[in-house]
Amino acid sequence: MATTSAAAPPLGPEKTYRDKLAAGRFEIQRCAACAKHVFYPRVLCPHCGADRLEWVRPSGRGTVYSSTVVRRRPADGGDYSVVLIDLEEGVRMMSRVAGIAPQAVAIGLRVQARIAGEGEAALVEFVPA
């Protein structure tokens, strides 16, 4: 993706990620130089600075690192979950846990990724594993 010419590559990493998600594929980056995984998608590896980031499919397995319940009036849709998930590959992402009450989402809960929504609205959420 990164090129030595001044011409811009076709798409930036964020748009590339979103396009993949819209097509039903959850992919993250992995640095071919230092072998570490990277999220969110970057131009350069945030660990070693190399420009050899490649797209890979994570297992989707993760653990709740922290969890909060955002309180909202029932009339506005009620309370909802916001979490930080540590993926098996060693990266962290913000998400939500679906399928159980937000108050029941505990730190340490094992979860599995799935794609919710379609097209531009597609995003990764998690359900208990």
Partner: protein, 388 residues
């Protein structure tokens, strides 16, 4: 190598303005009103100022707007914007400019009408459009509280910190505020009140969150030798350092360890001081978890022990460690960004001007700024002539 910045500059004047509610005041006008008070305190006028350092969440090119409002033509301007910590951070470029002879008197100022002006919901909408955070916004964290809630939840999980211990921070701040006639929230508050308050983003209730007020503050920085000739006793800058490791909470490596562990260590090294030397602390308490994290990361207690450390009134009036003596962002004032108020209160304490809340004979004060969501961490150490 010992930095040549240590003791080279001093705060000559501080001032506040429009704290609480200031309907009918624009943000630039509040900045100017605070500047007026700081200059009067320093025995100076706008004609004596040739450097300005300001930041704003809303005003585009705030340095230009501020200088224009006061009719100044500064030869040094900086508008570094790293969130609420900015005004502690501004000590660094201001001191460098003074030391290099690029300016002879630098005015640092902040003002906001966040409470009575354009609503936060409205500005949040515009900011989300101009500065999208595509890896967080789709999940609708109610920020900033949700980000701090995630840090608090993790600290509770990892170190058995309790909601009661978080509440102790809010109660101590309120007790200080009750001694400060300028504080916004002064009605009695006990631990049970904090726990029973409306939950915002678990585990933080509205009483774990800072105030939303209007207000402004300013300070004047000059070279140390000039400060001696001005009316107020100089308050010397002994150390200052900045660190940041992330912007968004989802990129913070460990939610229980902030970059204050780095900024604090470097500031203490510059000052040649240790935590035990500090007589009074002003910590950026946007949320109750902040005070606990910063006491740990700045070395006042071990990691994980912040909860027990703040209990039993240790940081409240009459306790052994005076923290947030003006009442803090939790009970005194918090107009969007709080950093300037940390410096103002540290200076007032070191001068012995703090009235009923005055700490007995302090010689060293620490001001610690926080910006973003536990993101930018900036530590400053100040001292009286005795500490120089």
């Amino acid at each position: 190598m010992r930095s040549s910045l240590r003791g080279s500059v001093a705060v000559a004047g501080v001032g506040l303005a429009c704290c609480g509610e200031a309907p009918g005041w624009s943000e630039t006008e509040i900045m100017a009103a605070a500047a007026k008070n700081a200059l009067a305190d320093a025995g100076l006028t706008t004609r004596d100022v040739d450097g300005v350092v300001v930041a704003s969440t809303n005003i585009f090119m705030s340095g230009l707007a501020f200088a224009e409002q006061l009719g100044m033509r500064p030869r040094f301007t900086d508008s570094t914007m790293v969130g609420g910590s900015s005004f502690v951070g501004h000590l660094i470029p201001a001191a460098l400019a003074l030391q290099a002879g690029l300016a002879d008197a630098v005015l640092v100022a902040y003002g906001s009408n966040q409470r009575t002006g354009v609503g936060r919901g409205e500005t949040a909408k515009y900011k989300a459009a101009l500065d999208p955070q595509p890896f967080e916004h789709p999940y609708k964290p109610f920020n900033p509280p949700s980000s701090y809630a995630l840090a608090a939840a993790r600290h509770m999980h990892q170190y058995a910190t309790t909601r009661e211990q978080l509440a102790e921070v809010a109660v101590a701040a309120r007790k200080w505020a009750q001694l400060n006639p300028e504080a916004f929230a002064r009605e009695p508050l006990v631990v049970q009140d904090v726990l029973a308050a409306r939950m915002v983003s678990d585990p933080l209730t509205v009483r774990d969150c800072c105030l939303v007020t209007d207000g402004g503050g300013a300070y004047v920085l000059v070279r140390a030798e000039r400060a001696k000739d001005l009316p107020k006793p100089p308050v010397y800058l002994l150390g200052a350092a900045s660190a940041h490791w992330h912007r968004q909470i989802s990129s913070m490596p460990d939610l229980t360890v902030t970059a204050a562990s780095e900024s604090g260590a470097r500031a203490f090294e510059m000052a040649g001081l240790r935590p035990a030397d500090v007589d009074v602390l002003e910590l950026y308490d946007a949320f109750t978890i902040n005070t606990i994290l910063f006491l740990e990361d700045l070395g006042f207690c071990a990691k994980g022990e912040g909860g027990p450390f703040v209990s039993g009134g240790r940081i409240a009036p009459g306790g052994t460690l005076p923290v947030n003596t003006n009442g803090g962002g939790l009970s005194c004032v918090h107009p969007g960004m709080y950093g300037i108020f940390l410096v103002v209160e540290a200076v007032r304490q070191l001068r012995g001007e703090a009235g009923a809340r005055q700490v007995a004979g302090p010689e060293v004060a620490l001001a610690h700024g926080n910006g973003g969501v536990l993101s930018s961490q900036i530590t400053a150490l100040f001292g009286t002539g005795a500490a120089l």
